[in-house]
Each structure stands twice: as C-alpha cells, then as structure tokens.
C-alpha cells in the first residue's frame, strides 16, 4: 500500500538537557510494525535519565503499533530511563498495558518445552519411546482384532446384525470398482514375466518353460500379492479416511450414544466385505494373468493356444491355484484391520487424519508382504 512508501518514519530524536526527546510521527499501523521496530530499536537508551515521548503526530495508531511502543517503553525502563509523555498517552497504549498486565499474565510459559537436557541420552530416550509406542501399537492392534472377531462371532447368531446391506456395499466399493485396475495390473505382470523369462530361456532352447513361469508365478504368488497391494492402496486408505473423518465429526460418538456398537456397524462390515471381495478379485487377476500369458506366448514365441493350454495343465499341480487363493482372505483381513484400526485412532485434527491414513496404507502393505513370506515358508515345510 502507498502508506508504506510515503510514510516518513517515524521517530525523530532530539537531545535535551534532561535526556532524549522522541517525536513520533507518521502511520503507526500493523503494516508498519517492522519499520517501527527498526526505528525504535536504533534509539540508544543506555544511561539516559529521562525520555520524553511526543505522540501527538502519530496517525492511524492501532494495537500492533501500540504494542511496539510499549515494547520500547519497557526496554527504556529496564535500562533505567524514566518515561515522560509530552502529550496524553494514547488510548491504544493503555489498552495494551491493561491487556498484558493483569493477574493472568503469568510468567510461566506453558506449551511445548524441552525437558531437562540429558547429555548423550537423547537417542536412547527416542529409541525407548519408540519401542514403548510400538509395543502399545501392537497390543492395541491385537485388541482391535480381538474385539472385531468377538463382535463378528456375536453377530453370527443374529444374521441381521451382520448388516448384509452394508457388507454388499463394501464388496461393491472394494471389489467391483477395483476390477479394471486389478485386471490391467495382472495383464502387465504376465507380460513382464513372459518377456523376462523368454529372454533368458530362449538361449537354452527351453522356451516352453516360459509357460510354467507365467502360470505358477501368477497363480501362486503375484496374482494375489499385487491384487492385495492395490487393494491396500485403494481400500485400506479409504477405510482409514472414512472412519477417521467420522471420528472427527463425532459420528462415532453419536453411534455409541445411540447404543450402536461402532465395531458392529462400521468395522465388521468393512472387514467382511473385503474378505469376500479380495478372493474374487484374485480369481480375476489369475484369469487375466493366464490369458495375458497365452497372448504373449502366441506372439512372442509363436506357440499355438492348444499347446499353451496343455503346458499350463501339465505345469500346474492340483494345489497351485489354492495355494494362491487361500492367502487372499488373510491379506484382506490384514488390510481391513489396518485401515479400520488407524481410522478409529483419529482424534482431534485433520493433520492426524492424514498421518494415520498414510500409516494405515504403509502398514497394510507391510503386513501383506510379511504374511506372504510366512506363507512361503509354511508351504515349503508342507512341501506344496
């Protein structure tokens, strides 16, 4: 604004027999605070007996301007100067004094304050805190799982309390709407495996094993794993965000106050919906993966479709498909629990919501991969 340019700040200092006389002029509004602070800061108040302030020339004094003036007055008094006013002190200055004095102006500065410094102990404290928090998280997660399962078991006796409408909605939201992206990813994965293995195996004249790799790779591992990762990104985050914003809106409190168990109403249908949807998505991923393999073998290796089908039949054991599909409900449970658990933890702020949604997705993916590794070891022990 033009005031800043045209303002001829603002402090004129004159030495008198008794000390300093400051003549204050110009705009003293909130927009000038930085300039005013600089102008007053340049005044040397050391060993001046009396400072006289002439404030009649000030225009547009607001609270911020008055605050700057008060800060100067305090600094001068601390340095031992006596403050005199040539004109009656402005009302705004009195208001600032009145506001900042008073009994509530406790010197104690609350808020975030670092504890006593412990030399060398900082890292240790941080590690300890992290360990305790992780422990709490683990116990909390188990408690959440337990409560969800108990609620589920209790509702089994009364099928209406399983909220079939809600479950179907979640099957639709997490399953049906995810079909295009899951199919596309499955196709691309089969392309990647086929290309990579064809390149390696062609040199050995073992082209036919490309089919084995695609079929076993997709059915046993990659179909279900990648579907789970996509679903964790899509639905794990959605669960956490939905429940989290319901918590912020006090919708969850409203449910509890109405006597409705939020686990029964919100958590169980989501878990159940995903446990139904993920195996179905996995079957689609398997189908598309195998079809993609067939397409690639046809055009990359000139393998007729009949030969591809024969080889797939030969390569697959009876258990291969089931070894893959059995993991899907477990992954679904982990994803849904991570999403709902983190969502229900939200309290207070929008920032927390964002943080916990992130945590939900990262943990869902981590848990899925961890479970997959455990399954791999288990199946090897079982020799399948």
């Amino acid at each position: 604004m033009s005031a800043t340019d045209s303002n001829t700040h603002a402090v004129e200092v004159r030495r008198t027999a008794r000390g300093l006389e400051l003549e204050l002029t110009g705009e003293w509004g909130v927009r000038e605070v930085a300039a005013l602070e600089a102008a007053l800061g340049a005044v040397d108040v050391a060993s001046v007996p009396v400072i006289t302030l002439a404030t009649a020339g000030i225009s547009g004094l607001d609270l911020s301007g008055a605050w700057v003036l008060r800060a100067f007055v305090q600094r001068a008094r601390r340095a031992g100067a006596e403050i005199a006013f040539a004109d009656p002190p402005p009302d705004q200055l009195r208001l600032v004094e009145q506001t900042l004095a008073g009994p509530a102006a406790a010197p104690a500065e609350p808020g975030i304050r670092a504890g006593p410094e412990e030399p060398g102990g900082r890292a240790l404290i941080a590690i300890g805190r992290y360990a305790v928090r992780t422990g709490h998280d683990l116990v909390g997660g188990l408690a959440f799982l337990g409560r969800t399962l108990i609620t589920f078991a209790a509702s089994l006796a009364h099928p209406r309390r399983l909220r079939p409408v809600s479950v179907v909605r979640h099957v639709y939201d997490t399953g049906i709407t995810a079909m295009p992206i899951v199919a596309l990813i499955a196709f691309l994965i089969s392309v990647i495996i086929a290309y990579m293995s064809a390149q390696q195996l062609r040199g050995l004249g073992a082209d036919i094993y490309v089919v084995d790799l695609v079929a076993i790779g997709v059915l046993r591992e990659l179909g279900v794993l990648l579907t789970a990762v996509i679903v964790a990104g899509r639905s794990g985050s959605a669960f956490a965000a939905e429940l989290g914003s319901m918590k912020l809106n006090q919708e969850v409190d409203a449910l509890i106050a109405t006597g409705v168990d939020p686990y029964e109403m919100l958590v169980v249908p989501r878990v159940l919906g995903l446990v139904i949807a993920l195996p179905l998505l996995t079957i689609i991923a398997d189908l598309i993966g195998l079809s993609g393999g067939a397409l690639l073998c046809r055009y990359l290796l000139d393998m007729p479709l009949s030969q591809y089908v024969n080889r797939v039949n030969y390569a697959l054991a009876d258990t291969t498909f089931w070894v893959g599909i059995i993991k899907a409900p477990v992954f679904a449970l982990l994803i849904a629990l991570a999403g709902c658990y983190r969502g229900m933890q939200v309290r207070g702020s929008a920032r927390e919501l964002g943080h916990l949604v992130t945590v939900a997705v990262v943990q869902a993916i981590f848990l899925v991969i961890l479970a997959d590794a455990l399954f791999a070891v288990l199946f090897m022990r079982m020799d399948i």
Binding site: M1, G29, V30, R31, V33, A34, E37, D62, L63, S64, W67, V68, A71, D91, L95, V96, T99, L100, G102, A104, A105, A106, A108, E109, P110, G111, I112, R347, G348, S349, A350, R351, E352
Partner: protein
C-alpha cells in the same frame, strides 16, 4: 459518511430456489449490526456473499466503497486484510496451535521478526480474554467458548476495522454467552470496530446491537433496535414478541426507563 458495508439489490438463486430477492443492507462505521432471520432465511448465504465466498446472481456488495462482486481474487486481498471473520464453529486450523492460528494472517500479509510475531499474537490472545496457556494448545483441547474467543483473536490479527461474527454465542451456556457479549462490546468500544453479527440470540441482540436487519420474505428490514421491535411484519412481531422474547424486552425497557 460512506457506509462500511453496503448491499444493494442482492439476488441469490440456487437452481429454482430464490434465497434473496432484492435485498438491501447498510452498515455504518462504529456500529454493531445484527443480522436476524429464521432458519433457512439466508443469513449464512448473505454472509458468504459479503465475504466473497460466493458470487451473487445479481446486485452489488460494497465494502469500504469497492464492489467486491466485480473484483478479482488479487484485487480482493487488500480489502480482506481490512476485515476479520470469526466463523460459527471457529474454523480454527486444527493442525496449528492457537498461537500459530493467530499468526497465520500476519505471516500471510506482513513481514515481521519472530519475537514481534509472537508478542503481537499473544497480545491478541490476551485481548479476547484467553489465558496465557491457551496459546500453546491445539483447537481440539479447547472448550467451545475458548474456540470462539480464539477465532476472534485470529480475526483481529491484522487490526481490522471491520469484524464479522457468525452466530458467536450459539452453543454457549448463558454465562459464557453473556461474557462473550461483553467481549464484543469491549472490543467495539476500545478498538472502534464496526461489527456485523449474525445471531439468533435475543440476549445478544439487546445487549450489543445498535441496529438490526431482519431477513423476511427474501429481503431485509433494518432499523434501530428500539424501532425494529415495533415493525408490523408478522415474523418480526413473533420474533421480538414471542414467549421467549417478552420477558427480555420488558427487562430492557424497564431498565431504560428507570435509568
């Protein structure tokens, strides 16, 4: 004198629904202007229009003489810096402390050293009657009344001359509401503010407002508080002379005559 806020011929239409049809409003400097109306009468739409949050279907909105309906976002900035708004639920930024909430407009508009930023924000927090330790708290840790006060502190961050309050006493207990009314009066008198306040609260109106605008039949009837209560419109009669209003009115008149 030029009015601080002037609305002329305002029309707001949503699909087939007409909310305002030729609404006029005028707020002069140094007054507390109350906006009253039934639920769904369009009080909030009016406020949103004045604040430039939505464009009206027709009509002009002048703030300090400039028509904000024709200004771009960049041209609106200096005008917005001259008024403060306290929303109904506070609308404090939940990820920031009260202190940071108050500092945010200052950081946006001013270039200040850190200690000035801190000092000024603390001054505003104290000014609205919050305890010193509220500065470090997050909005979720505050009571309803404190949230409203913190919202006012943020609205006052840039020392505006015009303050908008959206239902400042709704959701407060009568004692807190009365204390808030006192705060409004205190700020108005000491900072020479012009205050535009949406409210349902009869106590608030009688205690703080100089003039009142009532939205009836998509238009506004405004007058001084003493005269508006005798307006013949049936809704206004029901509002000011209903069961709940009568006691209040009697008390105020009695006090005025006695004085």
């Amino acid at each position: 004198m030029e009015p601080v806020v002037e609305v002329r011929g305002l029309v707001n239409r949503f699909g087939g629904q007409v909310v305002h049809d030729g609404l006029d409003m005028r707020v002069d400097a140094d007054e507390v202007f109350g906006i009253v109306g039934g639920s769904g009468a369009g009080k909030s739409v009016l406020l949103r229009t004045i604040l430039g949050l939505q464009r009206p279907s027709a009509g002009t909105v002048l703030i300090h003489g400039s028509d904000i309906t024709r200004l771009s976002e960049a041209q609106l900035r200096p005008i917005k810096a001259r008024y403060g708004v306290a929303f109904q639920e506070g609308a404090l930024y939940s990820g920031l402390t009260v202190l940071q909430n108050v500092q945010l407009p200052m950081l946006e508009y001013l270039k200040l050293p850190t200690d000035a930023l801190d000092g000024l924000a603390r001054l505003k927090i104290r000014l609205v009657g919050l305890p010193e330790d509220a500065a470090g708290k997050y909005p979720a840790q505050l009571s309803g009344g404190m949230v409203k006060r913190a919202a006012v502190a943020r609205a006052l961050a840039l020392d505006p001359t015009l303050l908008f309050l959206d239902e400042p006493t709704s959701g407060l207990d009568p004692v807190s509401a009365a204390a808030f009314d006192d705060l409004v009066l205190y700020l108005q008198q000491h900072l020479k503010l012009t205050i535009v306040m949406i409210t349902h609260d009869l106590d608030s109106i009688f205690r703080t407002c100089n003039r009142v605008g009532v939205i009836v039949d998509k238009r506004m009837e405004s007058d001084t508080l003493e005269r508006i209560v005798d307006h013949p419109n049936p809704w206004i009669q029901a509002y000011f002379h209903g069961e709940r209003a009568r006691a209040r009115l009697a008390a105020t008149h009695g006090a005025n005559h006695g004085a």
